[in-house]
Structures are given as C-alpha cells and as structure tokens.
Symmetry: C2
Subunit: 350 residues, 2 copies
C-alpha cells in the first residue's frame, strides 16, 4: 500500500485528553449521564477532530463531485449517462435536492466537474477540475491511468485544504457510480461481490442480476486481489474520477482538521479507499447516514462506523450529509450552552 | 372504553386523495423514485394531517408538561423528587437541553405545571395548570381521582386547541414518570411488566430489579385488566398528571390538524393512552425518535410507529422531538422547492 507520489497521507493526532475533558463537560450538564446518546459522542468526536475542548463550526460548504463512468453505457444503471450533466445543471440552477437542502441550511455549494462527459460553460458554483470526459469502461480496460488517479486524489485534497469552510458536506453525482463503489468495496474488503451489488438508483431484480454478471466479469478480468488489494490500483481500475477526488478531499479535510460529513454508499466507498491510503482516517470522519442501498450497512461495519441517520434515503448528491448537519449543529450548541448541575442548582442522582 | 365526559375524541379524516397527490408530486421531482425514503413519507403524512396537498409549517411551540409522582418517594427513580421543580426552574432559566434546543430551532417554549409538588411564583413561560401537588402513590391508592384525570385530559386538550402554533413538540419532566409509563404500557398492551420496565434516568441492575418488584406489587394491588384494560381507569390509577395532560394535548392537536412531534418513552405512553381513547390517532402523530429506554422499541411497535431517529437519547423534556424538527422542516422544503424532471429538463429512468 504505497501513498501516491508527493501526496501526504499523515493525519493529525486525536488527543485523548480532549476527549476526557469533553466527557467531563457533558457529565456536569443538567441531564442524566449519557442521556444525549450519540449527540454526546458526536460533539466529543468533533472536539478531537478540531483539537480543542470547545468544538464549534463556523461556515459549512457542500462539494458535489460529478463524473461519468465508461461502464455506464453497458447497462449498470437505470438512468442514461446524460443525466450526469443534466443534474449538474440542475444543481447549479438550484432545483436538485442538495440545492434545496444547502439553501435551507445556509451552506454554500460547489459542483466539481471531476470528469463529466460534457463541456460546460463556466458558471458560478461550478469548479472545473475535469480529468477527462469520463473514465474508460472497466469492462475493457482500467478506468483510469495511474497518473489520472493521482491527479484526481491531489485535486480533491487541494479543494479541502483551500476551502475557507471548517465543515464540509461531501456528495457525488455520476450515472453508474454505485457499480464502481461495489467493485471498490469488493476488492478492498473481500466481501463477496453479490453482497456489494444492489439496485442503485432503481434497477429491478433482473437489472441487478445483469449488473452483478457484468461486474463479476469486470472483477475477473483485472485479476486484482480481494480484501488486501492495493488501494491505488483498485481505485484506478474501477474508480470514477469523482470517487478518487472524494477520497483525496476526505484526507485533505482531516489533515486540515475540518469536520466532514460523509454521505451514502458512494462517498462511503471513497472513504474506504481513503482509509486504506491513510489508516486511522475513519476516526476523523462523521458518517451521516446509512442509505437504503443494501451493501451500505456492511460497508459501514467494515469501517467501524455508526451513522447518525437511517432514513432509507438513497439519493446521493450529499443529501444524507445535509440532512444530518442539524444534528451536528445541535450537539455542539448543547455542549456549549447547557447549564451545569452547579450553575442551575439541580440535585444530582442519589 | 368510554370517552371522558364532555371530552370529544373524534378525529378529522385523513384524505387518501391528498396522499395520492403528494405521492405524484414527489415522483415528478428530479430524483430516483422513493429515494428520499422516510422524508417522503413524512411530508405525505403532514399533508394528510393538515388536509392540504402543499403541507407547510409556520410557528412551532414546545410544551413541557411537568408533574410529580407519589410513587417517586418509594425509590422508582435514580433522582430525588425535588429535581422535578428544580428542572422546571432550569427550563425557565434557559439552561436545560430543551431550552437550548428550542432557542437554536426558533421555537417558543412553555412549561406546564400539571401537578408539581412545589409552589411556583408566576413566571414568563410557566403555565399554571396544577391539578394537585403531585399524584398519590399507586403503591397505596389510585394515583388520581376520576375527576382529576378528566380535568388533566381536558386541560391538555385545551392547550393544544388554543395554541397559535401549527406544530407542537411535546415533552415532559417528572421524577418517577418512567415507572408510571411502564405500568400504563403493561396494562394497555398486555406486554409483560418485566419487558416494560427499564433504568429510566439511570438505575443500575439492582435498582431496576427493585423497581420491577415495586411495580409488580402496584400492578397486582389494583387488579386491572391486561391488554384490553379500560384506558381511563388505567390512566387514573397509574398515570401522572403530566401524562394525562399530554394525552389530552395529543388528541387536541390532531383535532386542530396540528403537526405533533412525539418525544420518547413517556410521551409515547401518553400517546398509547390517547390512541386507546381516540382510535386511529397514531396516524396523526409523528414519532420523533426511539429512546434508549429498552421498552420504547416495543411500545412503538404496538403503535405501528416508525420513529425518525434512533440516537440512544433518553433525556425526555421533548429533546428527541426537538432534534427531529429539522428533518420535518427539510422534508417539507424539499417537497415545496425541488425541480421536476420537466422543469429541469432531466431525462427519466429508461
């Protein structure tokens, strides 16, 4: 497992003294011990990520990484490939789910063209980071070259480091990218491919069976290992440009001590790649939700992650990350603003 | 099962045509069918509750119903009874979890003195609806008289009908009220008492065993039925004034077509009582979260309810309802503001 050339993967330490201090702050608040459940664990994690006992979030930014997949034309998705660029236009016009959510939550939003098969005019909110007009099909060749893979990782990391926001919500758009995520999961965890493949945006049972057959062929074709496969090789072979850029962005965000909300199955697969490149990264990531895509449950278990929400969402775009943002904000506000037993003169448990 | 004297329990109809219209609106939005999961079901339910195809929420109000329990002095809680009035002061002073959450979410808040064992000075935000200085102990007698029970139900219903808010978050405070909720659940569902009893605010295993023994004695003492017991008799025998007022408030809110977010185990037990008094009520209620109190899972199943959140919270006060409010707001905003495939010129699934 080699880090990419000139791509630092070291992570800042998570200080146990900060965790202990936050635990003590929570336990002094006017409530039964531990009774805010996951909200207590969340504020504690954010404190460790930020390296301070009083965690807080200023501005929050949404990055939606978009790219096309060569394999999409082989029938691994319920939607035609053109939907990728059409949805990019919808994000920018403000009509997509993530656009509505970002507005409602007061977040800024950029759409990153990581490799969409379309030529966009420059537009406010659109970041041109195009590696190519979509990947090659892994049914025929590696999806991308090693150089393209490194470039995508580095571009994602740079976006995280350069963003002025201290909290990032990461999402994606790319017809065919559930299939790509399934292949990444299979090769990096060793979980049987049939358990990694699902309906994505809405294939029926016959569609899922056909997709599984195609992906089994692709998996055999490249002869990569299972479970302990080289993460960069797997990413270059099966990845999308948006997934590689997401992986870089996740690493960069952790390095910059930013809080990141990880969306669903596809961003989860990018997180898996990133955790293989930067071991321990999972403790720097906040897993927003468990999607309805069946393999996501197992993927989260492989990462030792407990998501905040289970709402049967399966939309992508960062929508699950956005819906979890209020929980993050409320947990930090509770830690900052609740009274203590002493200050409120409330009796403790006998 | 007789409704209380002069206490109307009829509910407005839920129009299936409205559900169909909202389903159609969701399916035209730029997203895979059903991919917003529970958020789609939530907006649809709110539309039916409100009786309109375009559901919306204006102002939201939090009611925290507080009361004391005669049985609390027998050792059914980890906290002394004085904590009830001390926490009322903390709610009013702004230091409790629900105070912080209400501020953060832009909700107004009232604390309703349904029967706290303390004499409060009048204060902004405090509603004096005191039935008595706490209930009698069900270990010795019925907790309240039939007249007190009817008065509490009517007072809660009146508060819902008179509130100018169109969305209500309901919570409670009352040392010993987890025990009361367990007894209500046992007698109204038939679930074994051992499965209805848990640690509440934080009893250890020995404390839970002692609590169960006390509650078994109380249950035997009154000789009420199991499962099909008369809801008013059960409520009067084991209830708290805050639980009775909550039950009335839930019924009143549904009658006024207000959206109600139901908090955890204790408000859940009040909802169970209210559903027995007003059959079908459960479809008018939004269940906010599943608490860490073990019996809450079974209670929700008895009501056929799927909660929005499972965050291991067990604080009460309405804190779980408050944390779920952003999900409700976001679901309504998505339905109102997302583009359609037509308006955004996005291709549909093939």
């Amino acid at each position: 497992m080699n880090p990419p050339d000139r791509f630092a993967t070291d992570l800042p330490p998570l200080d146990p003294a900060i965790a202990a201090a936050v635990r003590q702050r929570w336990d002094a608040k006017t409530k039964p011990l531990g009774s805010l459940g996951q909200l207590e664990a969340l504020a504690l994690q954010v404190a460790q990520i930020q390296g301070r006992e009083a965690p807080a979030i200023g501005s929050t930014h949404v990055f939606v990484f978009a790219a096309d997949h060569g394999a999409a034309r082989a029938g691994v998705s319920a939607y035609p490939q053109d939907v990728t660029w059409q949805m990019v236009m919808n994000f920018l016009a403000g009509g997509a789910a993530i656009s509505v959510l970002a507005r409602e939550l007061g977040c800024s939003l950029s759409v990153v063209d990581a490799g969409v098969n379309h030529d966009f005019e420059p537009a406010p909110g659109l970041v041109d980071a195009k590696i190519a007009h979509g990947t090659a099909s892994y049914l025929e060749a590696a999806a991308m070259s090693a150089g393209q893979c490194r470039a995508a990782l580095a571009a994602g990391r740079a976006l995280a480091l350069e963003s002025p926001a201290d909290c990032l919500l990461l999402g994606e758009m790319g017809i065919g990218n559930t299939a790509s995520a399934s292949l990444l999961m299979h090769h990096l965890t060793g979980v049987a491919l049939a358990e990694c493949v699902g309906p994505g945006t809405g294939l029926d049972a016959a569609g899922v069976a056909r997709k599984l057959e195609l992906l089994e062929r692709a998996s055999r074709r490249h002869g990569l290992g299972r479970g302990d496969a080289d993460a960069l090789a797997v990413l270059a072979t099966f990845g999308g440009f948006e997934i590689a850029m997401l992986a870089g962005c996740l690493i960069g965000a952790a390095q910059a001590r930013k809080v990141v909300l990880v969306d669903g199955f596809i961003v989860g697969a990018a997180a898996l790649v990133a955790c293989r490149l930067a071991p321990g990264l999972e403790r720097h990531l906040v897993f927003a939700h468990r999607s309805a895509e069946p393999a996501h449950r197992r993927l989260l278990a492989e990462l030792g992650a407990r998501p905040l929400l289970q709402l049967d969402m399966r939309l992508g775009e960062g929508s699950g990350a956005a819906v979890a943002l209020p929980l993050l904000r409320l947990s930090l506000s509770l830690l900052a603003n609740m009274a203590t037993f002493e200050s409120a003169q409330v009796s403790r448990a006998s």
